[in-house]
């Protein structure tokens, strides 16, 4: 099985990405809750890249690569859209979101709480988000 997948920036492809992650990780027999957490974190970053970085432009693409390391998995999501400005990110207060009826903005909080390390790099028009998750 390939350790990478390329998709066009359409929200309908989120399911394709989730299936790729679960199929790739299946041989590792991870607990169901952990497997779902990992799939969710990758889904959240992919959704952000599709919606915010690439404005759901079907003619643009992103690539997800999964690399098993000695004690963790590395997930790399690469695209050529607008880079994510992490310095402007503020951890949400979910109670405030409920109070004002805010619909979005908790995805990156999930990623931060699930993954052990989250990195964003940009060189020219190339952006890469790297997610590390220890499983042992």
């Amino acid at each position: 099985m390939n350790n990478w997948i390329t998709i066009s920036c359409n929200k309908k492809n989120l399911k394709v990405v989730r299936d790729f992650v679960t199929d790739f990780l299946a041989p590792y027999d991870l607990p169901e809750v952990l497997l779902n957490q990992i799939t969710l974190a990758v889904d959240e970053i992919t959704a952000n890249v599709i919606i915010h970085s690439n404005k759901e432009d079907d003619s643009k693409f992103l690539k997800l690569t999964i690399t098993p390391k000695e004690d963790c998995f590395l997930f790399e999501i690469a695209d050529k859209g607008i880079s994510f400005d992490r310095s402007s990110y503020v951890e949400p207060d979910v109670r405030d979101f409920v109070r004002i009826g805010k619909k979005g903005g908790v995805g990156f909080a999930l990623v931060n709480r699930i993954m052990d390390k989250v990195e964003f790099t940009s060189q020219g028009s190339n952006n890469i988000c790297r997610l590390y998750k220890r499983v042992r």
Binding site: K11, K12, L14, K15, R18, E32, V33, L35, N36, Q37, T39, L40, D43, E44, A47, I50, I51, V94, R95, F97, V98, R99, I100, G101, K102, K103, G104, G105, V106, G107, A109, L110, R113, I114
Partner: protein, 112 residues
């Protein structure tokens, strides 16, 4: 994502079947935004066949919760799979929303 509604008097039971992500959550948002939903006093959400939820799905519930509370409509989730409940717990939403194990328990809480 398949959404099925069952109405009994002032109670609306919504059964969710499938995966709630950034693509499919729009349908649920439209359902919860219908004006007639405010006519119910209890909304029970059957999550037995909800296999996945992302922040977009959570966001739909977060965005309607206060409106329902202000209208004294009880929103109660039941039959939630462990992996889905875990996603609510990561954000502490299990403390802000009512999640119970079964339909009977949901009805008991709804009638309190």
């Amino acid at each position: 994502m398949k959404i099925t509604n069952h109405i009994k008097e002032k109670t609306l039971t919504i059964s969710l079947d499938g995966e709630l992500d950034a693509s499919s959550s729009v349908m649920l948002d439209e359902e919860l935004s219908k004006p007639e939903i405010m006519l119910f006093s209890k909304i029970l959400v059957d999550c037995e066949n909800l296999n996945y939820i992302s922040s977009a799905g959570l966001g739909v519930f977060i965005s309607h919760l206060q409106r329902f509370e202000d209208a004294q409509i009880k929103l109660i989730f039941f039959n939630m799979q462990e992996k889905v409940r875990n996603v609510f717990e990561i954000l502490g939403l299990d403390l802000l929303m009512t999640i119970v194990s079964s339909y009977d328990e949901a009805m008991t809480v709804a009638n309190e």
